[in-house]
Symmetry: C2
C-alpha cells in the first residue's frame, strides 16, 4: 500500500486544518521543493461571483505547511507562519490552483540551520492561478522552521 | 421592525460570503467609522490547537466590507481589496474578535473623492484579539472604493 505524499496530506487535512478541508482544498502534487494545491469554486465565492479573498489566502497559505511536509523532517521540526502579504491581481473565477517552489540551495541552507535548538526563518512565495492561467494572486510570507519541544 | 446594521449584515452573510458564514463569523457592532466581528474557536483550529491562519485572515478581511456597509453609500460604490499584509503576533486561542476604525477626516476624504467615475484607494487596518485581550494579528490592507457600473 503506497500512498503519495499528496494523498497522505489530503487524508490528513480534515484533521490538520478542518476549515481548509471544508473549502475543498486538495493537494495535487507534493515533492521536495515543489507543491501544488487546488480549491473548487463551489461554495467559495462571494456576492461578486468571484472566489472570496479568504479562500485564495488559505489555498496559498497551506502550501507553507505542504512544502515543509514534502521537503523537511516532520519528526523534528514544524513550520510557523509569521507574516503574509497577499496581492490580489485578478478576480478568481472557477477552480483555483496554487503552486510554490523552493530552490535546492535554499532547501540546503534551511536543512543546515535546522538544528534541535534553532528557529530557521525562511521566505515563502506562492502563486494562485485561475483555470485559464490568469494569475489571481501572489503571496510572500515570512515563515519559521521550528524544532519541536523548544 | 428595526434591524441594526450588524443584524442586517449577519442575515446577509450566508449569501454574501458563504465561507465566512460557515466559519461562524458574526458582526457584533457596526457604525460609521467602527466595525467589530467575532469568530468562534469551534471548527476553526489547526493541529497545533490554535485558530487557523486563514480564519484569522478572513475575520480581519470581512471588516473591509463591513466598514464600507456601515460608512459609505452601498447603492453607488463597492469595496475591493487589492492587497493585505497580515502579521501573526500570538497564537489565537478561543473566540477571536476583530475591530477596525476609520477616522472622521479619512471618511470625509473618501466621501469627497467618491464620484461616479472615481476609484478611491484607502488603507484599512484591523486588529484581531483573543479572549484575554492578547493581540493575535494585525492586518493592513490596500482597498478601493469603486463605483458600480464602471
Amino acid at each position: 500500500m503506497t500512498e503519495s505524499p499528496a494523498e497522505m496530506l489530503n487524508a490528513a487535512l480534515e484533521t490538520l486544518i478542518p476549515v481548509a478541508h471544508r473549502m475543498g482544498v486538495r493537494f495535487v502534487e507534493l515533492r521536495p521543493g515543489f507543491v501544488k494545491a487546488e480549491v473548487p469554486a463551489e461554495g467559495n465565492g462571494n456576492h461578486f461571483g468571484v472566489i472570496y479573498a479568504g479562500v485564495t489566502f488559505t489555498l496559498a497559505e497551506v502550501l507553507g505547511g505542504a512544502i515543509h511536509f514534502a521537503t523537511f523532517d516532520v519528526s523534528t521540526h514544524y513550520p510557523l507562519v509569521r507574516s503574509v502579504t497577499i496581492d490580489f491581481l485578478a478576480p478568481g473565477k472557477g477552480k483555483l490552483t496554487a503552486t510554490a517552489s523552493m530552490a535546492d540551495d535554499e532547501i540546503a541552507r534551511i536543512k543546515a540551520l535546522a538544528t534541535p535548538d534553532a528557529k530557521v526563518p525562511f521566505v515563502f512565495e506562492a502563486e494562485v492561478t485561475g483555470e485559464d492561467g490568469t494569475v489571481v494572486a501572489r503571496t510572500k510570507g515570512d515563515y519559521q522552521l521550528r524544532p519541536f519541544g523548544r
